[in-house]
């Protein structure tokens, strides 16, 4: 028996060769398809690739026409790369590492139009997540506006504390009124009091009658006095309740009366009126623009944050450990490398500002392995409307706990034209032309962004267009800025990305006229006065109504007090009558006793006289 089957070996070679040939033949379209689907999933909008080419010596991948859709504008490409080339270490691929020794991105453009929508239809659940994310919001800078809000609009939309307190007080008064009326009705029970009156009249009559009647009257007076004292106690308790209620009522009245001032404070804080300070006109003018820039930075940060964050942990979590697939156990690597590592990358971008060229080094998925921070340098070439524009960045996450991103940006002599500084209708201001030099330095560490921006404006011309009826104010604005041709701005920002604090200072504050500052302050004071008047006017009628109801309560109390007075008089009379009758009775008894003694004495005397006769 022959142990070897040579035909089998040939079959094996044919099968393996066919498999390899098939893989080589289809590897490019397969790679294209995989890249498109993976990148689209990551971007949450379509990523289209025109062509993928693979070379094997040295191993490299070339990608032509990468178009990344802006998820928020599906008809716009957020990034459009003409050609991308990656020189990859093939040996490291066996270790599941993508090590790119050299990468080049040429013809990068942004915001290019798309021929078809790049929107991906998402499942309902992910749409909900997106909505929640949007609800979380970005921005977060509270800034005052020169355009003060309309007082009537505020009062229409705002729920005043005064209204709430008045409503509560009204309910309290109504409940108290019901309670007091019940007490009063009980105290003034007609049947009971008629009975007392009848008894009282009878007692009065009996006291003037015979001795027996007088004795009965004393007994009845005792009983009536006892009943009336019980009534008095009831009234006393009612008065205590009234006093407690009145004390609380008066307190709540005081709170309700003071509430308009609390409302004014709250509204001022809500509309940032406290920050509307004419001493810092720069904050008013540039605050809105700066806030827009910060918002833009937040949007971009939100886009790139997932790539900046260390993804090793994420990879660990993604590892399958289900049945039938097993778990990949990791061992120490002698020459550890990040899962994704781009040693050098050259960038060539075309923007509306001009061409930009730059380099990116040490782009790594885990900097703690390659121990080098990622660095980015970008500089403008053949720029439009500016002499120089540069950006340098360092993304250092070698030590994961102290990782930071630092970006420095500078632009020299940018020709600013027709730049609307204030969009306010009442404070129109446009930089007609100026040469702006800007230096920005930002640092993001542990979710906190800090930085400063220094801007110098030279050869500046301001214009102020009258867009509303207050032409005197427009003229004043124009006059105040007419002589200012050079000024600088120093902005500092800090805080968590969703809640930034922004401080803007400028020598502009010293240069603008005092008249303008006074006018702005006057506007603020006028607004506060109007608000106060309107609120007081709004609560005047309900407060008057409440006052009237309070008076009714006082009247109830007065009625009960009067009843108490009346009863006191009756009890005093009964007690007095009872006392005087008892005294008369006592005296009569004593007189009768003396008379009996005298009579007996006389009898004894007469008997004695008879004996001695």
């Amino acid at each position: 028996m022959k142990a070897i089957r040579w035909g089998g070996l040939i079959t094996f070679v044919v099968i393996v060769t066919a498999l390899v040939a098939g893989a080589l033949l289809f590897v490019e379209p397969i790679t294209k398809s995989i890249l498109e689907s993976q990148l689209s999933e990551l971007n949450t909008a379509k990523v289209d690739i025109e062509k993928v080419t693979i070379d094997y010596s040295p191993f490299s991948i070339g990608i032509k026409g990468i178009r990344v859709t802006d998820p928020e504008q599906p008809m716009i490409n957020m990034v459009d790369v003409d050609q991308a080339h990656f020189e990859i270490s093939i040996a490291d691929l066996f270790f599941h590492k993508v090590i790119i020794n050299d990468m080049s991105l040429t013809g990068i453009q942004s915001d290019t139009p798309r021929t078809s929508s790049g929107k991906i239809i998402q499942p309902i659940e992910s749409l909900k997540e997106e909505a929640d994310e949007q609800a979380f919001g970005l921005s977060g800078i509270d800034l005052p506006s020169i355009d003060l809000p309309d007082v009537n609009d505020i009062l229409k939309n705002e729920t005043l504390t005064a209204d709430k307190l008045i409503a509560e007080l009204n309910t309290y008064i109504q409940n108290t009124q019901v309670k007091w009326t019940k007490i009063k009705e009980d105290i003034n029970n007609k049947q009971r009091w008629d009975n007392y009156d009848t008894q009282y009249i009878e007692i009065e009559t009996d006291f003037k009658g015979s001795t027996k009647e007088k004795i009965d009257a004393i007994k009845a007076a005792k009983k009536l006095s006892h009943d009336l004292k019980a009534e008095a106690n009831k009234i006393k308790q009612a008065q205590q309740t009234f006093n407690t209620d009145i004390e609380r009522l008066n307190k709540e009245f005081d709170v309700a009366k003071k509430s308009p001032s609390d409302d004014i404070k709250r509204i001022k804080a809500k509309y940032s009126l406290d920050q509307l300070d004419a001493g810092n006109i720069t904050q008013l003018l540039f605050g809105e623009i700066a806030a827009e820039w910060v918002k833009l930075a937040q949007v971009w940060y939100a886009r790139i944050a997932p790539y900046l964050e260390d993804d090793e942990q994420g990879l660990q979590e993604q590892k399958p450990s289900s049945r039938f697939t097993g778990t990949d156990i990791e061992f120490k690597e002698f020459n550890p490398k990040p899962d994704l590592y781009i040693k050098n990358a050259s960038i060539d971008a075309i923007t509306t500002r001009g061409k930009f060229k730059g380099t990116m080094t040490q782009l790594s998925s885990d900097q703690s392995i390659n121990k080098q921070p990622m660095r980015l340098n970008l500089a403008g070439v053949d720029l439009k409307q500016r002499d120089k524009e540069e950006m340098a960045g360092e993304f250092n996450y070698i030590n994961k706990n102290e990782g930071f991103s630092q970006i420095n940006y500078s632009m020299l002599r940018y020709q600013l034209k027709g730049f609307q500084l204030s969009k306010s209708g009442s404070f129109p201001l446009v930089i007609d032309k100026s040469l702006m030099t800007m230096n920005i330095s930002t640092r993001l560490q542990q979710g906190v962004l800090t930085g400063n921006a220094k801007l110098n404006f030279d050869e500046t011309m301001f214009t102020s267009e009258n867009t509303n009826n207050d032409s005197s104010f427009s003229r004043m604005v124009a006059k105040s800025f007419a002589d200012i041709h050079t000024f600088n701005i120093d902005a500092k920002f800090s805080g968590a990305l969703d809640k930034m604090k922004l401080k803007i200072k400028s020598d502009l504050d010293n240069k603008i006229g005092a008249q303008l500052k006074t006018k702005i302050n006057a506007k603020k004071v006028q607004f506060e006065q109007d608000l106060k008047e309107k609120i007081n006017e709004k609560i005047k009628a309900p407060m008057t109504e409440l006052e009237a109801k309070r008076e009714q309560l006082y009247q109830l109390k007065a009625d009960v007090d009067a009843k108490q007075q009346e009863m006191k008089q009756k009890i005093a009379f009964l007690d007095g009558q009872k006392k005087s009758q008892e005294e008369i009775k006592k005296k009569d008894l004593e007189t009768n006793k003396d008379a009996a003694v005298d009579a007996n004495k006389d009898k004894v005397k007469d008997k004695l006289k008879g004996l001695f006769k």
Binding site: K2, A3, R323, F324, T325, G326, F331, K332
Partner: protein, 168 residues
């Protein structure tokens, strides 16, 4: 499946050397127990084609052992986990982990390690056991069946001829 069983009976009853059939089963055990897309399976395929291994036995065995693997996977995974996390062996695994050739075999996967280890250990016993059982079947069982009256009656029936034609 029925056809496969008939084919198996035919192979067992044929003139094919028992070692060829049992080698087919033993190699099928490796490819059936371990994940298909593993480097060592290419070697198994080469061995099946290069050596005179019975292909029908191999294909039948592959189907049987793949089914059994569904039940045994948790055992393989636990075994692989235990082996790969043995402190005494960590040096060996670390050195292998740093070699691109070894990484291609996916040895660090718990399922690959566990199932491959079981199938390699069971390979020789399976080969010998298979050989012994086939010999015993041919010498004792098959002879007894062939000489029995009942089988002679069945053998002459039309139904039996149809069954035989199915296996061909």
């Amino acid at each position: 499946m029925f056809t496969q069983i008939l084919k198996l009976i035919r192979i067992l009853s044929s003139e094919t050397a028992p070692i060829q059939i049992s080698a087919g089963f033993a190699l099928a055990m490796i490819i059936g127990f371990t994940p298909l897309l593993s480097g060592h399976n290419l070697i198994v395929l080469l061995m099946v084609l290069f050596f005179r291994v019975n292909l029908a036995a191999f294909l039948f065995g592959w189907a049987v052992f793949s089914g059994a693997a569904y039940l045994l996977d948790p055992v393989f995974q636990n075994l692989g986990q235990t082996i790969l996390t043995q402190p005494d062996l960590s040096n060996v695994w670390t050195h292998m982990y740093n070699s691109s050739a070894w990484r291609l075999t996916r040895f660090n996967n718990t399922l690959v390690m566990g199932s491959l280890l079981v199938s390699l250990i069971a390979f020789i016993p399976m080969l010998l056991l298979g050989n012994f059982l086939i010999n015993h079947y041919r010498n004792d069982v098959l002879k007894y069946v062939n000489n029995s009256r009942l089988f002679k009656v069945i053998k002459n029936s039309k139904l039996f001829s149809k069954f035989i034609s199915l296996a061909e």
